[in-house]
Every structure is written in structure tokens, then in C-alpha cells.
Symmetry: C2
Subunit: 329 residues, 2 copies
């Protein structure tokens, strides 16, 4: 099994991406293909001890920047690390592709080049969220800004299959994000989706409100990509703001500083439980091939976890699970 | 100036609502009308020292519960504290109404009984959010689950006028909540609203992403009531979860407990800055009359702040500001 990684993508490329790749290769039996500028990659690898590690390089000499319009970028930059990497998956030379680059471009490339699985009209991005007792899976976290109810039902099925087959949760509870628990609450697409989900064989527990979204009452939280993306970024913003407030307050008085020092390991533990880097990025579900979209700000740790996320999904047979699941739907 | 308060509404009614009313009346020159069951109110007031306070009672002997369908409830319960309170405003016997009860019913009662201001098709709920440097105002936080762009432009104008006239912010910056800063990002209603807002005289700074929504780059954050309600509840959920994690961690080891004790005032300060109770509830803008919708979980402090929020809006002439503003639009 080989996993291709976009070495040119993300705010800290290529240095921290490569550091993450080296860490993943050292700790796990996985062959990694580094996609990007060969000169840059070789120079950077030379700073690590990589003798004997199962690393190879596939050259790609264009870079899609973070703010390029995705559709245009993937048409015009055939030799970009994103297009070259996705095409490795398409040709079967890699089983998965990981990128911290322009997420719109990665999704567009995956959709255009890999296509969708049978029964799936559009891929969706699934994100892991920590809950008091484990993780929940939010889908769609940002691919489809406009969703009809039939798409949301497909997302619910993919999320449920992922939680069951990859994370091993039996009969995952599926909740629909809305502004009230009653079936009559929400906007039109939520009400229609609610009715459709009730007719499936999924373990649909009904609408859930945002304050309950990440307390573990649902294993899968289904929403459209607009709402999902806002939810994910809001959580990130709020967590950062609270941690910022904590730091500010602890520095504000000498005796706070002392007590803060004693609590440093505790704060680090909390920050880690809230840290996007621990959760290995988002998983694009529904394309013919595994694609992991890491956070643009990924450091080495986040890249390593994103690679392990892809490996885990492959090891547990996510693609065949989604395909088999579809046949039973 | 008189303000009517729903004594029967909220999770902690009537005790804590009445405690909040007494606190507001003691500290401020404002006449308060307590709306609800006279026997309950008199018994509760007897436990406080209320001699000489400008309090009066208007009897209402039905209660709309938190989970009643709003439209039906306001039709059937004419003698509910919500309907009686809103009708005091309609008849000019109170200048504002404050309730921590069924928010859907309060909004429906206000809309049906008071009607909307000239130029406003639908009222919207505005919520204050703490930012590093002050507050931002999110509108709509949950009244209109479905919004066409013209409504969102009206919300933007109301929010801008509120921030300028009531909070004294000159030329408030207006941002549109979306999933990318570019005008082309978002779903269809966001793109259309973006184009419409650019044509107004508002200080429109463009789309803002959710992670930047509460860092103060915009004074007014405009969104539809579905997204806005999810945002508000998500922030509440995340803040509670982080505070819960902090408490858990601090109790987990004896030396953490000691350091945590030293930091208690610091934590309380942070919790206060994040606490919905400090911000006095949501302000329903666009109806002919001031209505403040306090959080269902309001304690005495939250009720007191909600009353002061209403008083402040009245003192600064929010209704005439919205009406005059409309003529200039």
C-alpha cells in the first residue's frame, strides 16, 4: 500500500510536510510517495535521517496556491502537486492522497479525476470531533455549499458506514444538525431531509441542536457543506479565543503566572484534546479513492496524523465498505 | 418609561426572574411591570425588600411552555404572560417587553401583535458577542430559518443602526458570514446578498469566515436565522465543553487542585467574559416596540441585564433610529 503526499501544499510546506512524512514513515509500515519539486524534496530530506525509509519521489513542478480559484487551477495546472498526486490514485499507483493545500482544488481534482462511487452524486468532507467519550464525525464539513435532501441522505449513509467499518462503532447514531429537535423545525431542506432519513435503515436519532452536536449523543452529525464549514471554523475560532483568554489572564498577575506554571501540563492536555492536528484532517468520502484533506496550517504532527488517517481508512477497507454499503441501500 | 417583564417565562421562573427584576429596579430609574400570576408574584415579592420600588403587577393567568408550537400557543393562550406583555407594548402601556420564555412564541406574538416597522418585512434577533476589544452584534440569531437576500440587507441595516445609535460605534463595519472571503464563495443566497450589500451605503467589509466572526473585524455579523442560531448554540456548547474540560482536569490531581484554587478568580473572570448572562439576551429588531428575548436558562443576573438592555435601547431611541434610518435608505 502506497500513500501519496502533496509536499507543496499548506502554510508550512515543504519543510513541515516533509518532517511529518518522515515521522509517519519511521513509525509505520507504509510506503510514501512525495509529490512535488524534486530539488526541494531532496534538499529537505537530506536534513533528516531517511536511510532505508520507504520513501519515493514523483516530480510535480507547479503549485496551486491557497487562494486560486479551484476549477481554473486544476484545469490550468496539470503538473501541480495536487493534480499529479490525485492522478497517482486514479492510475492505481497510490492508494490514497494526502494534501494540506488548497482544499477546494483538492476536492475539485478528486471529483474530476477520480469520479464518484456508484450511488454517490457528490463527495463530502468528514471531520472528526472530540466528544467527552470519543469522537463524532461531522459530514459535510465544506464541500457542498448547496445541498438537496437526497445528497444529505447519501452523506448520512457514508458517515454511518465510516463510523461502523473504520472506527468500529456498531449501529452508529445519526443526527441531523438543526435549530430545534422537532421534525418541524429548521429550514425546508432540513425538514425534507429529516423525513427522508426516517425512511432509511440508518439509526437516525432525529434533529440535534448545535449545543449538543459534539457531546456524543450522535456518532454522525449530518449537515450541508455551508453550515458544516461554518460550524468547524467557529469551533476553531472559539477554542483559540478561549485559550488566548487563558494565556492573557495567566500572564496578568505574578501569582497567576506561578499557578499557571504548575498547571501547564493540564492546559497542554486540554489544548491537545481540542487541537485539530490530533484528528488528522478531513476525509473526502464518495470519490473512487481515498483523499485526506489536512488543515492548511498543518505542522509535522498534523501531517503525520493525516497520513495515518488515510492508512487507517485503507486498512479497514473504507472504499469497499462504501461500495458494498451502497449495494444494500 | 415602563418595561414589562414576563415573570412566568424561563427555566427559573418565577423566583429568579423576580430576583432579577428587583435588582434592576433597585439600581436604576426604571418602572417595571411584572406580568404573570398575581398570587405567585406577590408571594415572591414578599421575600424581597421591595418597599418604594417602582414595581406594578399586570395579571396573566396562562403560561406558554418552552416546547409549545408558537403559532398555536399565541392563538390559544390570549391570557398568557407573553401575549399580555406584548399587548402592553402594543397599547403603549409599556415601552418594552422582556421574556425568557418560549422564544418562538415571543417572536410570533411580537410579529403578530406589534407588526413591523416601515420598510422591514421581518424582525430579526440580534445577539451581542464579546470580542477581544468590545462586542460584535450577530443578526439574525434565530428568527428566520429561511431568508431571501432582501431580508438579509434589512438585517444588516438594522444591525448597523443599532451599533451606531445604541452602542455608539461610528460607521459600523458590516460583515456577511460565509465560507470564504471572496464574493464568489458561499451558497446562492450569500452571493446575492453580498452583491446587494455592496450597493448600499453601509460600511460593508465583505464576507467573513466563522473563525473570524467574533474577533472584532466586523461590528455587525449578518447571517440567516438558521446559520445564526447554529452559530450561537455552537459557541455556547464549545465554551461549556472547554470550561468542563478545565474543571475536570483541575480536579484530576491534588497539586492541580491547589493551583486551580489560586487561579479561581482568573477562571471566573474568563467564564464571565464568555457568559451569555452578561450580554442581556437577544434584541428583537424590526417590530413596532422593543422586545428583549432572554436566554431560557436566565438567572437573576441575566434577567437584570436583559432589562438594562431594553432600557438602554429605549434611552438611545432605537425605534426612532430604525424608523429615521429607514427613510434615508
Amino acid at each position: 500500500m502506497k500513500i501519496a503526499i502533496d509536499v507543496m501544499g499548506g502554510d508550512h510546506a515543504p519543510q513541515k510536510v516533509i518532517a511529518g512524512i518522515v515521522a509517519a514513515a519511521k513509525g509505520n509500515k507504509v510506503e510514501l510517495i512525495l509529490v512535488g519539486n524534486r530539488g526541494l524534496i531532496e534538499a529537505e530530506l537530506a536534513t533528516h535521517g531517511v536511510n532505508g525509509l520507504p520513501l519515493s519521489i514523483i516530480e510535480a513542478n507547479q503549485v496551486i496556491t491557497m487562494d486560486e480559484p479551484p476549477a481554473q487551477a486544476i484545469r490550468q495546472k496539470r503538473d501541480s502537486s495536487i493534480m499529479v498526486g490525485v492522478n497517482l490514485v486514479k492510475r492505481g499507483e497510490a492508494a490514497a492522497f494526502v494534501s494540506a493545500g488548497n482544499s477546494g482544488a483538492v476536492m475539485a481534482a478528486a471529483l474530476v479525476s477520480l469520479g464518484t462511487l456508484d450511488g454517490i452524486e457528490r463527495p463530502a468532507l468528514g471531520i472528526h470531533f472530540p466528544t467527552p467519550s470519543g469522537v463524532s464525525f461531522l459530514i459535510d464539513a465544506g464541500v457542498n455549499a448547496e445541498c438537496k435532501p437526497s445528497l444529505l441522505v447519501q452523506f448520512a449513509r457514508m458517515g454511518s458506514l465510516y463510523m461502523e467499518k473504520v472506527l468500529g462503532i456498531p449501529n452508529p447514531k445519526v443526527g441531523l444538525l438543526s435549530i430545534g429537535e422537532e421534525a418541524t423545525k429548521g429550514n425546508q431542506w432540513v425538514r425534507e431531509t429529516h423525513d427522508s432519513l426516517k425512511k432509511t435503515h440508518l439509526n437516525f436519532i432525529g434533529n440535534i441542536e448545535a449545543n449538543n452536536a459534539f457531546n456524543g449523543i450522535a456518532d454522525v452529525v449530518v449537515t450541508d457543506g455551508f453550515t458544516g464549514n461554518i460550524a468547524v471554523k467557529l469551533v476553531e475560532g472559539v477554542a483559540e479565543r478561549i485559550i488566548g483568554l487563558l494565556n492573557e489572564t495567566l500572564m496578568s498577575k505574578p501569582h497567576y503566572r506561578l499557578a499557571g506554571l504548575a498547571l501547564r501540563p493540564a492546559f497542554q492536555d486540554i489544548a491537545q484534546r481540542l487541537d485539530y492536528r490530533e484528528y488528522g484532517g478531513g476525509l473526502l468520502l464518495g470519490t473512487k479513492g481515498v483523499v485526506v484533506i489536512a488543515h492548511g496550517r498543518s505542522d509535522a504532527r498534523a501531517i503525520e496524523n493525516a497520513i495515518l488517517r488515510a492508512k487507517d481508512a485503507l486498512d479497514r477497507g473504507i472504499l469497499s465498505a462504501l461500495e458494498d454499503g451502497h449495494k444494500k441501500w
